[in-house]
Amino acid sequence: MRAASRPHPLSRFEFLVAAAILAGGLAGCATPPPASDPEALADFRQTNDPLEPTNRVFYKIDDTLDTVLLKPAAEAYRYVLPDTVRTGIHNVLNNLGGPVRLTNDTLQGKPARAGDTMMRVLINTTAGLVGIFDVAKDVGYPDHDNDFGLTLANWGVPEGPFLYLPVLGPSGPRDATGFGVDIAIDPFTWVGNGRIGYHIASWSKTAIAALDTRSRLLDAITSVKKTALDPYATFRSLYRQNRAGKLETLQADNRATIPIWWPQGKTSSATTQSQSQTTR
């Protein structure tokens, strides 16, 4: 309907929404083990993959696409471009993700992480020449991942059943929603939207990002496929653990934001003093 009023090529967002709807239409369900086997039932619930048969179909399709398209492309990308150039490209893409990360840091109520992201964007965009060089890391502003899926997780939204989405790969209702929200809150989704140049830039960025991500995972994915008896289950496990690990890291990061000119650690000594006073 929107296409009629706005005769532009399909945006990335619309494309992904269409893909997700298609996935939903083809849903098939896994049969849970009988109640007579409580351990197997507990395992089934813990795995939380009720759509496993459908997920496996999409895994297979994605895996085939990957083998014939993305993997060879990523290999070529790694072969043609030297390490330093690929790192530069990775840094630029990472820097473009700054606004989304900053929004999520803020929504999660993590001022020190938001500060890191802010400083990283400011320093790397200028001194790092539009993000090619990660100067900020060397002056004490380390990088961290963030997305709206993690924001929802931090707010207490459970990950929900496992979903293997076409093109996007391992996900779940929470993280898939987060993915959509991240695109919606990304200023680069809206700046210049509607112009043909925007669509070229936007799709190129998506393609380069795919090559960048896939080339960084070449060895890891090959090794999983070689060593796992059930690669699908292994990727599912790795995805879930990776998300849980990121959530744990962000929740554990409770650094206070004390300005540099303020007496450092004053709050903690003040509490000790009041405590010793009450004991006396």
Partner: protein
């Protein structure tokens, strides 16, 4: 007055005792952490020298087997990986599974020799989690982004052994357990089928 002083002395004594025990336990933990760090440094150095060495591949595999058998509690990892199926398996199956697992572990690690060529491992710090020590390291290798690898060490003071490796927060043994669980669920919970698949895999990759 006297009562108050006595009370004060008693509470001071209690406090001192509490502080003392706190100190010794934190001292022991620090010591456990140091020992685990030294253990990981030592094992890591051995691994790196084999991986980056000039030996032939079969020789490297032999050297790796030795290091793994000496530094990893393979039997305990194997039991963990079979999960709930360990209890339903027969003693004979358990034995054959553990044997196959030893092979799988060595084969999986040896199959990565090529991609880890030029690897550099830096030990960062250690922390305690219950009785285990977790030693954090960073692994750098050509063509790949730097990764954080945590080594979980059981009995760090008496008989340190690796029981798990966490690559960027993902546990190797947990991933393996879920791989096996899925395989078993899709193959009528047949442990023999799993053992066969494991053997086939080692034959293919070894």
């Amino acid at each position: 007055m006297l009562d108050r002083r006595n009370c004060l002395t008693a509470s001071l004594a209690v406090l001192a005792a509490a502080a003392g025990s706190g100190l010794t336990s934190s001292g022991a933990r620090a010591q456990a952490g140091e020992k685990a760090t030294a253990f990981v440094q030592q094992t890591g150095d051995k691994l790196v020298s084999v991986v980056n060495g000039t030996m032939s591949t079969p020789d490297k595999r032999r050297a790796l087997t030795q290091i793994i058998e000496a530094s990893v509690d393979v039997d305990s990892v194997a039991r963990f990986c079979l999960g709930r199926f360990w209890r339903t398996a027969s003693v004979d199956q358990q034995k054959r599974f553990v044997n196959a697992f030893h092979e799988v572990l060595v084969t999986n690690i040896s199959s990565k020799l090529g991609e880890y060529q030029g690897v550099k491992l830096t030990v960062q710090h250690a922390r305690m989690q219950d009785d285990d020590a977790i030693v954090t390291t960073t692994v750098e290798r050509p063509n790949n982004p730097q990764t954080t690898v945590d080594w979980v060490i059981e009995q760090p003071t008496t008989n340190p052994k690796i029981v798990d490796v966490l690559a960027e927060g993902t546990s190797l043994r947990l991933t393996q357990r879920q791989d096996y669980a899925s395989y078993l669920t899709r193959n009528n919970n047949d442990v023999d089928a799993l053992i066969n698949a494991m053997k086939q895999q080692t034959a293919q990759n070894g």
